[in-house]
């Protein structure tokens, strides 16, 4: 499964692309948890899934997810999750 994180990271880096291995039956929340763990290890700062979800827009294969769907939407092999801080301007 591919996850692209376009949020705010310490050190000014704003994009992380990651491929995650998750057990069958995993949800979007599980994917974000796995990503938060990886970011914490890499950057030496605490990232929590709930904080990321509170501030960012999460899309599964191009569709925005909100509320319960963040917790319940199941992910499949080859799915794309995009997480971004909704910055305005263009």
């Amino acid at each position: 499964m591919k996850v692209r994180f376009l949020g705010v990271l310490p050190g000014g880096d704003g994009e992380v692309k990651a491929e995650l291995e998750l057990p069958p039956g995993s949800t979007v929340f599980h994917a974000v948890e796995a990503l938060a763990k990886r970011l914490s290890e890499r950057l030496g700062k605490d990232f929590s899934a709930s904080k990321i979800l509170a501030r960012h827009v999460v899309m599964l294969n191009g569709v925005s997810l909100e509320g319960d769907k963040l917790l319940t939407a199941r992910v499949m092999d080859e799915d794309n999750i995009t997480i971004f801080l909704p910055v305005s301007g263009g």
Binding site: E66, T82, P86, G90
Partner: protein, 616 residues
């Protein structure tokens, strides 16, 4: 609050006679229209004879600031160029950041009304409350950076800032722009109006202090805004990357126009995005009084364009010379951006018209003979760059495309009209409203034609908090109106729209800043009303010039051809439903004409009486 009265003064310049005179703006008028865009609409509405041709000497060209520009308040930087557009025939308000607005105020003038046409090329040198007319034959034909260098040398004033046109403005390219530093008043062809007046540049400098009648109050709010901005997460991210941050996001949301709006997802996004740009960024670039610095000085890294340096490209330019032209070479986009800045071309319209020509060539509507052997296929970036040069110089088919997408399509024929991605003649920018329905309202109703900048609903387009469903129709009239009115306030005060849309400041901050500067209480409600007033006055100007309900439309592709793939697959724009809702929310009738009640509420009855009743 202070007892003194606030003065805001303009200089009226007659280029034909080589004379100028200072004029004071009544403070009541300033409170009603704020400055910049709003004041420009009022002056044009009052002074311009209906039907004045854009290239006529009688078409006024205004450079306007606001009471906040040059005050040191954060992001209060954008000067407005107002005129009647040669591209659309509508009212035109084109804004630019950088340093020119602050320099203009420092010169002792808050704005400039330019009338007539000079007999020979000239430039204006505004300094220390004086206006000098200087000859510019030696500058004619020069590109914009060179013009600025030469004029700075001639004035001997290192603090001077120059707003000028390039060869495209001289040649009357209908989407040529005005460049100062590396920032452009880009859209709608103000550069061509300037060229038609034989005016190559306006230079400004001085030591005049911007009046602030309640300095203590001003310092307090100024510091509060700056402190809050330092902790605004979204604003920090915006500053780090600038507008290109949204390339991936808009593409991900399926509304990134690709190959002349045939699709909404660009397969080359992994090669054309903010991170790829960051590998090429030399340094950050800022505007006057900006603690964010969203600009990027970028150098092309590879291939034939290696070493070319530009400020930008911004989101729109990455799109215009990227997805719109099917081009995945980021360094070619950097080269195109630099070329447009030097020649004085609006990058959005230039990329749009080239993408249009590429589709026409693909369909055989433009022949190889028309193109003089140029292979104008989607993705051919060397041909794309050559076309930029030909447009600016009006060479061959470039002369034809320099008229803009609508006029070019009208000459080619009916099938081409269906491919012209424009509204009222203004080429559309980098959002496909089939995937963001409020954007459809914005394109259809923006007073200068198909434009995103007068009312971009961030909650819809980017999912800014609280997000709204981009594909829904319900409620979009109100969402569009709210942002349009807000943007009219920000534009009129010269406030960059990016910080307010990223938690940097809000309408209460703007009201507090203006109150401190003017030395009298201005409320949030006053500002909202002023924004709505400006929007309606611009509508009256366009109604007087013959624009009607049928001009509030979109290209047939967006109305009839469902988006082929991506998150917005199957969608078209339900424009009639959207407009009916929007007109109702605006207090306009079913023809899109403001009602007498609405005009009375906004204090525009007298202006309305000069336009209404509107003939069908």
């Amino acid at each position: 609050m202070a007892e003194e009265s606030y003065t805001f003064s303009l200089v009226r310049v007659d280029l034909a006679r080589g004379v100028s005179r200072r004029e004071e703006i009544d403070s009541g008028l300033l409170l009603k229209f704020l400055g910049g865009r709003g004041l420009g609409a009022k002056i044009l509405f009052d002074e311009q004879i209906p039907g004045t041709e854009p290239f006529s000497p009688d078409n006024r060209l205004l450079f306007l600031t606001s009471p906040l520009i040059g005050s040191g308040a954060p992001w209060c930087v954008k000067y407005t160029v107002s005129t009647r557009s040669p591209l659309t025939g509508t009212i035109l308000m084109s804004l630019a950041g950088g340093f020119f607005g602050a320099a203009l105020r420092a010169s002792g003038f808050d704005g400039l009304i330019i009338e007539g046409q000079a007999a020979e090329p000239c430039y204006l040198w505004l300094h220390d409350g004086q206006v000098e007319f200087r000859e510019a034959r030696h500058l004619w034909g020069l590109e914009t950076q060179r013009v600025q260098e030469v004029i700075l040398g001639e004035t001997g004033d290192k603090r001077a800032r120059v707003a000028c046109i390039g060869p495209a403005g001289e040649k009357g390219v209908r989407f040529s722009c005005i460049v100062s530093g590396t920032r452009a008043a880009g859209r709608g062809g103000a550069g061509a109006v300037m060229g038609s007046k034989n005016l190559k540049a306006v230079a400004a400098s001085g030591r005049a202090r911007v009046p602030i009648l309640d300095p203590q109050g001003f310092r307090r709010i100024n510091e509060a805004i700056r402190t809050r901005a330092r902790n605004a997460e979204r604003l920090r991210l915006f500053g780090r990357y600038g507008t290109p941050k949204n390339l991936v996001i808009v593409n991900e949301r399926g509304l990134f126009p690709t190959r002349n709006f045939r699709e909404g997802v660009f397969e080359g996004i992994d090669k054309v995005n903010a991170m790829e740009q960051q590998r090429r960024v030399l340094r950050k670039v800022t505007c006057h009084a900006c603690p964010v610095s969203c600009g990027n000085m970028t150098r092309a890294a590879e291939g034939p364009y290696r070493g070319i340096v530009t400020e930008g490209p911004e989101y729109e330019t990455f799109w215009a010379f990227g997805a719109q032209c099917g081009n995945q070479d980021i360094d070619a986009i950097i080269a195109a951006d630099r070329l447009c800045d030097e020649l004085g071309l609006d990058t959005i319209s230039t990329g749009n018209v080239i993408g249009f020509a590429m589709e026409c060539a693909e369909k055989g509507l433009i022949t190889s003979r028309d193109l003089e052997g140029l292979d104008l296929s989607f993705g051919n970036h060397s041909a794309m760059l050559e076309m930029v040069r030909r447009i600016a110089r009006r060479e061959g088919i470039g002369d034809f495309l320099a008229e803009g997408t609508l006029r070019a399509a009208q000459k080619i024929g009916k099938e081409a009209l269906g491919l012209a991605m424009q509204v009222k003649g203004l080429e559309l920018p980098a959002y496909d409203p089939r995937g963001a329905k409020a954007m459809g309202i914005e394109f259809a109703t923006s007073p200068r034609g198909g434009c995103h900048e007068r009312g971009l609903v961030s909650r819809e387009t980017f999912g800014a908090p609280p997000p709204i469903d981009p594909l829904a129709v319900e409620g979009k009239g109100g969402a569009a109106k709210e942002v349009q009115d807000e943007t009219a306030v920000l534009d009129s005060l010269g406030i960059c729209v990016f910080p307010p849309h990223n938690d940097g400041m809000d309408m209460a901050d703007a009201a507090a800043l203006l109150s401190a500067v003017l030395g009298q209480q201005v409320s949030e409600e006053d500002l909202w009303l002023a924004g709505e007033r400006v929007w309606n006055l611009e509508r009256l100007f366009n109604l007087r010039e013959g624009f009607r309900r049928e001009h509030d439309t979109l290209p047939p592709r967006l109305l009839k051809e469902p988006m082929p793939a991506g998150p917005a697959a199957g969608n078209v724009v339900e424009l009639n439903l959207l407009l009916a809702d929007y007109y109702t929310v605006r207090g306009w009738d079913e023809r899109g004409v403001p009602t007498l009640e609405k005009l009375a509420q906004l204090g525009l009855s007298e202006e309305g009486s000069r336009v209404l009743p509107c003939p069908r």
